[in-house]
Symmetry: C2
Subunit: 286 residues, 2 copies
């Protein structure tokens, strides 16, 4: 399990990697980091967010106990392939990737015995990227999801849970690969598709001066990292297509109700959405 | 024009009416109000938000100079019909209704010469209703839209503009009926349809513990007053159906792009939505 001697290593020091580094340092942990950007490493060193850093791919790997990948999915797979024999037995590796099905088993099957990869997903983010925007307070209201598989030991899963506790996540849960990716397809990916699509429906920039909070809130996530999210959507294509279709069917129903001026059904839909949405109010704002 | 002697009267003392009353009182204006709820009138009197109040429909009408309707559209029409001969010549009436085409000309045609109705739309609101939630600070970041018609004099439009300035709206604009209703169909009504529809797509309340800010922000407006919004949607049916269809076409395109794994087009869509959305960032958060 984790203790004061545990050596943490972060691979990819961006928004998530940097926030994790800061969160661990707050607890007095020993943290090293690798990033291809010399500037990111220097900045984190100056801020005191890491104890040591490098732009060399395999520095720190052999002496680390707990490694966190902040890499994009495609890069993570390449990185594991390249370094699968560079870790010391007993090392636990986890990640931050938002989709699991096409990634997790593939990675676990590549690693030799003694090196355990536990998939996890910190459900926190911002519309900005890069280590300069990192902030461990992102985690305080957020969910941390661990996605154990048959390849994982109970002990390794508990170690990752302890790691999430160090970072002070609001809620830590465990889901299967299928449960996780289905949930993400609806709660996160479909919402991003909707925001992007609404923004792309018209060139609406001339309407800026008339915009209220509704439109602003709904389209906040239309500011989106095109490289990361294209990867995430393709990795969860079947689930996401299924969710888009379900949403389209419900939208067709609403359109029919409006077209027919079926006021009773329209009111029923509003009452239902109001009732359901109340469950999603933050406890602290109730 | 407005001055210290102007007698303001508010009909319907709910969230909007109450906020307007408070905003006017802050400027030292004389304010009376009518509401069917004795409790609402008493509460506003106790708070010092109005100088006098009544539950009788026609009290204060003859002696008022500037009347603001905070009524639902259907009730507003009935109210005008009932009282069109109860006003004193020179009285200006305005409203807060979110749709204009099927309402404004109808009202203006009912009123006798000398009584001028200037349509307006304060683009501010909350998910709660009732005078107890009213707050004139709602107006500070918000747009106020005046919808003049050929029936309106320049002087009356300027008086309504002065009224909006008293309430300290961030931005005051003028739009034609068609421009207003088209804009509202897209910016406000379509966004509400999307939020309601997403909430109704699944019974998703078991997902509460996994929800991030994206889903919360996108569905905030799925808590919706079913009586008011059913009226507003039906009054703007053609524009809203048109906007839903445009959004559906764009969503079909996205689905095709995902289905075909056309990563270049997907990235182009993300870059476009990001670029457009940046125009909608609040100036104070840039």
């Amino acid at each position: 399990m984790l203790n004061k001697e545990t050596r943490f290593h972060i691979v990819g020091l961006g928004l998530m990697g940097g926030s994790i580094a800061q969160g661990l340092k707050r607890c007095g942990c020993h943290v090293t980091a690798m990033d291809i950007s010399e500037d990111s490493i220097q900045y984190a060193l100056e801020q005191g967010w890491i104890d040591d850093g490098s732009t060399h791919d395999n520095d720190f790997l052999a002496e680390s106990d707990f490694i966190i990948s902040g890499l994009y999915p495609s890069i993570l797979i390449e990185w594991i392939k390249r370094h699968k024999d560079d870790f010391t037995s007993g090392t636990i590796i986890t990640d931050v990737t938002g989709v699991k099905s096409k990634l997790l088993m593939h990675i676990q099957n590549m690693l030799p015995a003694g090196i355990e990869f536990v998939g996890s997903h910190p459900m926190a983010g911002r519309e900005t990227s890069g280590v300069r925007f990192s902030n461990p307070d992102l985690f305080l209201p957020a969910n941390y999801i661990i996605v154990p598989t048959e390849k994982n030991s109970k002990e390794a899963v508990e170690t990752v849970r302890a790691f999430a506790k160090l970072l002070k996540f609001h809620h830590i849960a465990e889901l299967s690969i299928d449960e996780h990716d289905k949930m993400i397809g609806f709660l996160s990916q479909l919402t991003h598709v909707i925001a992007v699509t609404l923004m792309n429906t018209h060139d609406n920039t001339h309407l800026v001066e008339y915009t209220g909070d509704s439109f602003r809130d709904l389209t906040r996530i239309a500011k989106i990292n095109e490289h990361l999210w294209t990867e995430l959507f393709l990795l969860n294509k079947e689930n996401l297509l299924h969710e888009i279709t379900a949403f389209q069917n419900e939208l067709d129903h609403f359109k029919e109700v409006l077209s027919q001026e079926d006021t009773e059904e329209m009111k029923r839909l509003f009452v239902q959405s109001t009732k359901r949405r109340k469950y999603f109010d933050r406890k602290d704002t109730l």
